[in-house]
């Protein structure tokens, strides 16, 4: 199933019609969630409550505030860099089990549009 957020859709349509930029694929929500589920992301991140990791809403807000983009989020998924926990300790972040740039981009966009 493809769900498209109206604004994104409008934007894409506009861009596509204007022909000034590459066609921007809309977020495939179902694919993003399936990938996250398969990779145990939801065990530590919920959409809007704090679990072991911050909620996707909080992550999206932080990225907006700090003007970080999807590249940064993808780095988090593929590099397994250290994350800081509430209790001050650190551990390696989960490394996602895909290298497909399209899948990664779609998931990053989904997270950042929460």
């Amino acid at each position: 199933m493809k769900t498209t957020r109206p604004i994104l859709l409008a934007g894409c349509l506009f861009l596509a019609l204007a022909g000034t930029a590459p066609v921007h694929a809309a977020v495939d929500e179902a694919a993003a969630q399936a990938l996250a589920k398969k990779n145990d992301c939801f065990k530590c991140h919920a959409i809007d409550k704090t679990k072991k990791g911050p909620s996707y809403k909080k992550i999206a807000a932080k990225y907006k505030e700090k003007k970080l983009d999807e590249k940064e989020a993808i780095k988090q998924m593929i590099e397994g860099k250290k994350v800081k926990l509430e209790d001050g300790s650190e551990e390696d972040h989960k490394i996602i089990e895909t290298k497909d740039p399209k899948e990664l981009s779609n998931l990053a966009q989904w997270i950042l549009s929460r």
């Binding site: 589920k37 065990k43 530590c44 919920a46 072991k52 989960k94």
Partner: protein, 434 residues
């Protein structure tokens, strides 16, 4: 089975409980139902859970965080069960075709005398539930174990037929077992136990001080508090320390309805877990049919009532084969002309023999259209030192397990822990009967 079982059980439940509801007459249509997802856990022992193999969750699990804090995404149980049952991890000997997931419908009610728990689930077999039990087969000289549960090595190797009884089990705590409210049954599931990693050898068990003291030949479910190192079954506390923990209520109740060994006599067993999975004091509704001194069965079937003095391999999966004292059992006659291939039951049943705390629980199960409907009846206000006392207004932590399709040990489907409230706010709220 149907008629005798039903008759006996109704008579029993009615006995001595004038104010109690007849569970067969409870209008379950008016009692809310909660669907509890059950999943196949494989060898996800407590030791695995607190190891680095449980990625990103070892520290949290060790410090007692709730499983459901992390495992709460949609279909969490289904995904875990399907992964494990297929042998992707935590299951060294996958059982072909086994389902990873099962939905259990739970309803609860209570009155002044009892709590009534009703369970419904679909069995894998749509033709016949697993109501048989392994037997003793005469090989011309000796009576030897015949058949076994699906995870048994000989059964996996195709050397023995798969035979075991279906079961519906609950573990229940009243808040006295640390972390049970968050981690439920996994507190009792450890390496070293039967069909688990690092299975304890006979020699290790024989050399172990606690096992010697409690006269046990294998390692079974135990609570962390019963060991000095909760992850090492060998580090048992002293019998005196264990007695103190038990007296303080630091054990969980383990209650099982069994399709072969309790259902035909209207019973549900009563046990508890502390340093082992013990039965309560007194006498069970079922007892071993082996006379260990004479090395022969104690009872055989009454041919006049059963149609034959023994079973044959052909009867399994077809004939109701419950050996019930006072109904269809007569003392074993060694001179009855035994032939190779004759099979007798490993257990005989007797509601009349059951006594003490072990005989507290009653219940019945009926299988129809591929579905078991089981009602457990648990008296309120029990004061035995091996029982959790249920009372109106109480809230308890409860874990559920179903053994389906000729299997035992880890081959069950289990739940994350839930709460049960008797007329109190909880995941499963028992309704007060009029």
């Amino acid at each position: 089975m149907k008629k005798t079982a039903l008759f006996l059980s109704l008579a029993l439940i009615g006995m001595g409980s004038a104010l109690a509801a007849d569970p067969a007459k409870i209008d379950w249509g008016k009692v809310p139902a909660v669907n509890v997802p059950l999943f196949y856990p494989g060898q996800s022992s407590y030791e695995w859970l607190i190891s680095d193999a449980h990625k990103g969750a070892a520290k949290e699990t060790k410090r007692g965080d709730a499983c459901a804090f992390c495992h709460d995404e949609p279909d969490a149980e289904k995904d875990i069960g399907n992964n494990i049952v297929a042998g992707k991890r935590l299951e060294p000997t996958p059982v072909k075709g086994k389902n990873g997931y099962l939905e259990l419908k739970v309803q609860a009610a209570f009155d002044d005398k009892n709590a009534y728990l009703r369970f419904q689930w679909a069995t894998k077999s749509k033709n016949r539930p697993s109501i048989d039990y392994p037997g003793y087969r005469f090989d011309g000289k000796e009576w030897k174990a015949y058949g076994g549960p699906q995870l048994n090595a000989d059964v996996l190797a195709g050397k023995k037929p798969a035979i075991y009884e279906d079961r519906m089990s609950i573990m229940l705590d009243d808040g006295k077992v640390p972390n049970f409210a968050k981690q439920g049954c996994w507190l009792t599931c450890h390496d070293g136990e039967r069909d688990m990693p690092k299975l304890a050898t006979k020699e290790e068990v024989a050399a172990n001080p606690l096992m010697k003291a409690i006269k046990r030949a294998d390692v079974r479910k135990y609570l962390p508090a019963s060991r000095n190192d909760p992850s090492d079954w060998k580090t048992g506390k002293t019998v005196e320390e264990l007695a103190r923990i038990k007296a303080e209520g630091g054990f969980v109740d383990l209650i099982q309805w069994r399709a072969h060994r309790t259902n035909p006599v209207g019973a549900v067993d009563d046990g508890y877990v502390l340093e082992w999975r013990n039965f309560d004091a007194g006498k069970n509704h079922f007892a071993s049919n082996m006379d260990n001194e004479k090395k022969q069965p104690k009872f055989m079937f009454d041919a006049a009532k059963f149609g034959a003095k023994a079973l044959t391999a052909d009867d399994f999966g077809k004939k109701d084969m419950f050996l019930i004292k006072g109904v269809n059992a007569v003392p074993f006659d060694p001179n009855a002309g035994w032939k190779e291939g004759d099979i007798l039951a490993q257990y005989y049943l007797s509601a009349a023999d059951a006594a003490g705390s072990a005989a507290d629980n009653k219940g019945t199960g009926v299988w129809k259209d591929g579905m078991w409907t089981v009602v457990m009846v648990r008296p309120l206000g029990l004061t035995n030192d091996d029982d959790k006392t249920l009372k109106a207004g109480g809230v308890y932590s409860i874990g559920f397990a179903v053994h389906d399709d000729n299997i035992t040990t880890r081959g069950h489907h289990v739940s994350f822990v839930r709460t049960l409230g008797l007329g109190a706010k909880a995941d499963i709220e028992a309704v007060k009967l009029p």
